[in-house]
């Protein structure tokens, strides 16, 4: 094999696109051609560097926008559609229905953008195959996981006895700040609880609203702002908040 031939095969070799016969020929040629060995190394290095770039998944708001369009075209998703699709649709409509209002006055009180970010975070919990970054029903596993990942220690309580087993936790970003999201389960429903240190003192009782069959709760307890979203019935959302506050007060 002459060098121009072998040179032309370098990239196809790196990409695994040579036939078995060509590969054997190429490797034989390579053994006696320093130039082509260098080319091969260079091509492999470039390939490796590009493959080392972090994956950049589609933003949740993009998913929500597309979901909204699909819904507008087809109407509500079919009853038999997978659960996560139902969640996606509901959460997408939540963005429209709730808009900027519901989460207003949260982290920095600027409303707007961080509200969208938080709702997008619920989408992530609702739609992801793995809704949590740390999967454990043991609060002694979940709580330490947040150490070094966010700048506060979120209250983590297992509410299995009250019918809300802890699934785990994950991080979300709201207004550029990392916040803790705890994910609970009630039967086949998921519940996402976003928690961050309150700027004002005093407890408030849960304010529960319903949109599109979606229960939203916001309250402040023991120094933390709480925002919960689920497709539970509002009464059950109320039980959740009560159970959580009780657990916080008893330190369990």
């Amino acid at each position: 094999m002459d060098c121009p031939t072998c040179e032309a095969m370098v990239d196809a070799y790196v990409d695994g696109e040579l036939s078995a016969r060509d590969s054997v020929e190429f490797e034989a040629a390579l053994a006696i051609c320093t130039d082509c060995r260098q080319r091969l190394e260079a091509a492999r290095t470039m390939s490796g560097l590009l493959r080392g770039l972090p994956a950049d998944p589609a933003p949740d708001l993009l998913r929500a926008r597309i979901e909204r369009e699909l819904r507008a075209i087809a109407g509500r998703p079919h009853e038999r559609a997978r659960e996560r699709m139902r969640w996606a649709a509901v959460a997408a409509s939540l963005i429209v229905a709730v808009g900027l209002g519901w989460l207003g006055g949260n982290l920095t009180g600027q409303g707007g953008r961080q509200s969208d970010e938080m709702i997008a975070g619920y989408l992530r919990v609702a739609m992801a195959e793995t809704p949590v970054d740390v999967a454990s029903s043991d609060r002694h596993t979940v709580k330490p996981w947040f150490v070094g990942r966010i700048d506060y220690a979120p209250p983590v309580h297992d509410l299995t006895a009250q019918g809300f087993p802890l699934l785990g936790g994950r991080l979300d970003v709201v207004d550029g700040r990392k916040v803790a999201v705890l994910v609970y389960r009630r039967n086949q429903h998921r519940l996402a609880l976003t928690v961050w240190p309150a700027a004002t003192a005093g407890n408030t009782s849960p304010d529960i609203t319903v949109r599109d069959g979606f229960a939203l709760a916001r309250w402040r307890h023991a120094g933390f702002e709480m925002r919960a979203v689920s497709d539970l019935a509002p009464a059950e959302m109320g039980s959740f908040a009560t159970a959580l506050d009780k657990a916080a007060d008893s330190g369990s």
Partner: protein, 191 residues
């Protein structure tokens, strides 16, 4: 060019419920790929979202003509063609370069060393700086992991051209990286 001329026209009917459900199952799982490709074509996160959304909706309109081929290359081809149609709207390409650099800088990177992060920023910036013709072939091969045959389908090129363009693209990337590292002297001399 490409898909829009040789594929059937959209049939003008609103896709029915069943079509949308099938679309969700077959095409929607490839949204991450569509967005990833869009990001490297547009080199701007906002434009990339617009491009991905427009592409998905276009894909739905053309979905009646989908014949069960591989969905991901099929969708990426639509992204590529949609970008060809949209890019004039985003003519100010050059000012997007910093955005790509910054975006990679801001990405989630909790467990990695600073040096590794620094290296990735250089690689991303070098890739973003390449001409579209070689950039897209690199992205399809290395990031989307498509075969030569699939890339040929997405870009509407002969396989031989894909191969030679890829060889040229890797050389250009190496040169671009050398230029950057030489200029900034970050001690990544092992490239």
């Amino acid at each position: 060019m490409g898909l829009m001329s040789d594929a059937p026209e959209p049939d003008g009917r609103t896709p029915d419920n069943r079509t949308v459900e099938r679309f969700r199952i077959v095409v929607l799982p490839h949204l991450d790929s569509a967005y990833g490709f869009a990001r490297w074509l547009a080199r701007d996160p906002v434009a990339a979202q617009d491009l991905a959304q427009e592409s998905l909706l276009r894909a739905l309109r053309y979905f009646h003509a989908f014949r069960g081929e591989e969905a991901r290359p099929w969708l990426l081809r639509i992204v590529r063609n949609t970008w060809t149609d949209m890019r004039t709207r985003y003519a100010a390409e050059s000012e997007s370069l910093e955005t790509v650099e910054n975006q990679v800088a801001a990405g989630p990177d909790p467990e990695q060393s600073a040096e590794a992060g620094e290296r990735r920023r250089h690689v991303a910036a070098a890739l973003a700086a390449l001409p579209a013709e070689v950039r897209e072939v690199l992205v399809l091969r290395e990031i989307e992991d498509l075969s030569y045959k699939q890339i040929a389908g997405v870009l509407d090129l002969p396989i031989g051209t894909v191969m030679s363009r890829l060889a040229r693209a890797r050389e250009k990337l190496a040169a671009e990286l050398r230029g950057r590292l030489g200029r900034r002297d970050h001690g990544l001399s092992d490239l």
